[in-house]
């Protein structure tokens, strides 16, 4: 198992926490609303071949929300700055859920530093009509129902009843950060679909077959908005296929980037 290292990068007056794992070609990992993901087994597997670089979105994992931050666009420009600062080139960008939205927003601005894009159960666009709820309103849904919708096997859901107060405080902070980045318009940018044509790098959508938060049908429609993008469905996985089915997930990533 590779060691996780953490560095701090001063950008826009923010001390951005960046976690790293492994050696090899670089994958910029953009996490979702649940927080950083390099601690999960899939990351160890990928770290055998790649260097994973995961910035912690400000507000997540106990970090503060910068005073000037109002929404996802602030994160987009922070990471454009980060990619410059790290001198990333020919990088694979992998984002799950909120992180997938973020990856797409970065890519429509410039793919100069991006080789390939991987979107995992990503949000970011509106695919249905105005009265269709494309993305489950996580702020208006009970935790039990969220667990049911999010996991193929709800027993995989973290048991927050065993969390310490410090751990719960992080969960609370993650929720506030998620609301900052995605409250309204809810976890999407109405403009994004009109910009997705600018993505000119190979793109793979990976989706959990049992995702009830954002369904595979949503993923398929999203995938259809990016020229040449492909989609892989992972069976027996929900909103976090990288957590629920690490083997199948890692295999999909490796076959796409090799």
């Amino acid at each position: 198992m590779s060691n996780l290292t953490t560095t701090s990068h001063r950008l826009q007056g923010i001390d951005l926490e960046v976690r790293r794992k492994g050696r090899g070609p670089r994958i910029l990992v953009l996490h979702g609303g649940g927080g950083p993901v390099l601690g999960f087994p899939f990351a160890d597997r990928l770290a055998e071949r790649f260097e994973l670089i995961e910035p912690v979105h400000p507000g997540f994992a106990g970090t503060p929300i910068p005073e000037h931050f109002d929404g996802l666009e602030d994160l987009v420009y922070l990471y454009l700055d980060l990619m410059d600062a790290l001198g990333l080139a020919q990088t694979i960008v992998l984002g799950n859920s909120l992180g997938g939205w973020l990856a797409a927003e970065i890519a429509v601005r410039t793919t100069a530093r991006i080789a390939k894009l991987i979107m995992v159960d990503a949000v970011g666009v509106k695919v249905g009509g105005r009265e269709e709820r494309d993305i489950v309103d996580v702020f208006a849904t009970s935790q039990r129902e969220l667990d049911r919708l999010m996991w193929h096997d709800p027993a995989r859901a973290p048991d927050t009843s065993k969390f310490t107060d410090e751990q719960l405080k992080i969960v609370v902070g993650n929720r506030v950060a998620l609301s900052l980045y995605g409250w309204d318009p809810y976890l999407h940018n109405p403009k994004l679909r009109h910009r997705l044509h600018r993505i000119n790098v190979p793109t793979l959508f990976i989706w959990g077959a049992s995702d009830g938060l954002v369904t595979p049908a949503y993923g398929k429609a999203y995938c259809g908005m990016i020229a040449g993008a492909r989609m892989t469905i992972i069976e027996r996985a929900g909103h976090a296929p990288h957590v629920e089915q690490p083997d199948a997930f890692v295999a999909s990533v490796i076959s796409f980037v090799s």
């Binding site: 702020f139 927050t160 107060d165 969960v171 929720r175 609301s179 900052l180 409250w183 309204d184």
Partner: protein, 408 residues
């Protein structure tokens, strides 16, 4: 002491709570019969007008998507009362300005009510309760910052008389602000803000506004009012006059203690009918992190499921009894709290009828009000401090975050 008669304008004809998840946010409005609702609106308006007849002031509030308070637009109620009442002061407590996207519109509505009532408006601003986040579709995060920026814009709109001004703030932008009408009262109507902690009392005290607590009770009233008074003294260099502080409680008065308790039990509908979903009680960014953590642990229920009258009286959230008893209860809390000049009287809730409500209201107005007026008139700052120092803090179990939601 001024008393402000208040009812939340509830719609109490609901199914068994076992049949619904929450009385707020997501209770389908098929449960609301507009014919009964019309009768209720008229009854409540009549209650406010009757309160005025008996010398009390009027207070209205606003909530959304809830049967507990079917007033999604308090300015509409107040507009009716501005015309139909004659002498009462008209308090709206308040405008949930952090949840309204057009502060200038609020400034216009309030100015209009102030003019129609010929200067009787008392204008409250509130952050509002957690359940409003979903109803307003506005995140609770930075709600306090939005409240104060909206307040700044409203105040400037009220007090600028030389044509349009520009406002380009962090949360609100409006380039040509020039409201018609301007307020009747000069420079502007008195301002009230709800306070729920010593910290939230500070900006209110510094601006010399009236700070109001809801259901703070013995467990919280001292620290909140002390916070206000300390900030007031620091900023203004003089002690806080009682007329800067308001205390809200459920009140029911009757000729006998037994009858009063019967009425007070009915009034407790306000607390008892508050079955809510945990996720709507804890929207992101509303509570301080440690409070939000308690919600996640399920340790914190917003309102005790079955509050007892005895306990709520002991906490100072309910005043109930004969006029003598109610006066003593209020006086005891008044001295414990270090004095306040306003009592917000929740005089009706749930199934309390017009006759029952007016019976209590009349007795209160006749027997209790004169004594409360005298109590405040002989307020002496130094003597109050001595009295307060001689009364130790009451030890009462904190019931989770109870009251916090109502007291922002």
């Amino acid at each position: 002491m001024k008393t402000w008669f208040f009812t939340e304008d509830a719609y109490p004809y609901l199914p068994d709570p076992a049949e619904y998840e929450s009385i707020r946010v997501n209770l389908p409005n098929r449960n609301y019969d507009p014919v009964k609702g019309a009768d209720l609106y008229h009854m409540y308006l009549d209650m406010w007008l009757a309160a005025e007849e008996h010398g009390l002031e009027i207070m209205v509030n606003e909530h959304h998507q809830t049967a507990t308070c079917v007033v999604p637009a308090a300015p509409l109620l107040l507009a009716i009362l501005a015309r139909q009442s004659k002498t009462a002061r008209l308090l709206i407590l308040g405008n949930p300005i952090a949840n309204r996207n057009q502060p200038v519109r609020v400034a216009e509505e309030m100015a209009m009510i102030d003019v129609i009532s010929r200067g009787r408006l008392e204008c409250g601003f509130v952050r509002s309760v957690p359940w409003e986040a979903a109803a307003a579709n506005i995140t609770a995060h930075r709600g306090v910052d939005r409240l104060w920026e909206a307040h700044d814009l409203i105040l400037k709109a009220w007090t600028t008389h030389d044509g349009p001004f520009n406002f380009e703030g962090r949360y609100y932008r409006h380039r040509q602000v020039n409201i018609w009408p301007r307020p009747f009262q000069q420079p502007h109507p008195p301002i009230w803000v709800t306070i729920g902690s010593a910290g939230s009392a500070v900006p209110v005290a510094e601006r010399d506004y009236i700070g109001a607590v809801f259901l703070a009770g013995y467990p919280n009233v001292r620290k909140i009012f002390d916070g206000y008074r300390a900030a007031y003294l620091k900023r203004h260099g003089r002690p806080t006059d009682p007329d800067r502080l308001a205390y809200a409680a459920l009140v029911y008065v009757a000729e006998t203690e037994a009858k009063a308790r019967e009425g007070a039990e009915k009034n407790l509908w306000y607390m008892r009918s508050n079955k809510v979903s945990p996720h709507h009680s804890n929207p992101p960014g509303y509570h301080a992190p440690d409070v939000a953590v308690n919600f996640m642990k399920g340790a914190d229920s917003i309102v005790p499921q079955n509050p007892s009258l005895v306990d709520q009286m002991a906490r100072g959230n309910v005043f109930a009894g004969t006029p003598d008893q109610v006066y003593e209860q209020i006086k005891t809390l008044y001295e414990y709290a270090g004095g306040f000049g306003h009592l917000i009287m929740m005089g009706q809730a749930g199934f309390l009828t017009m006759a029952e409500t007016l019976g209590s209201l009349k007795l209160y107005a006749k027997e209790v009000v004169p004594r409360l007026k005298e109590l405040v008139a002989r307020h002496d700052h130094d003597r109050m401090q001595e009295l307060r120092a001689a009364t130790p803090d009451r030890q009462l179990t904190q019931l989770g975050s109870f009251g916090l939601e109502f007291a922002r």
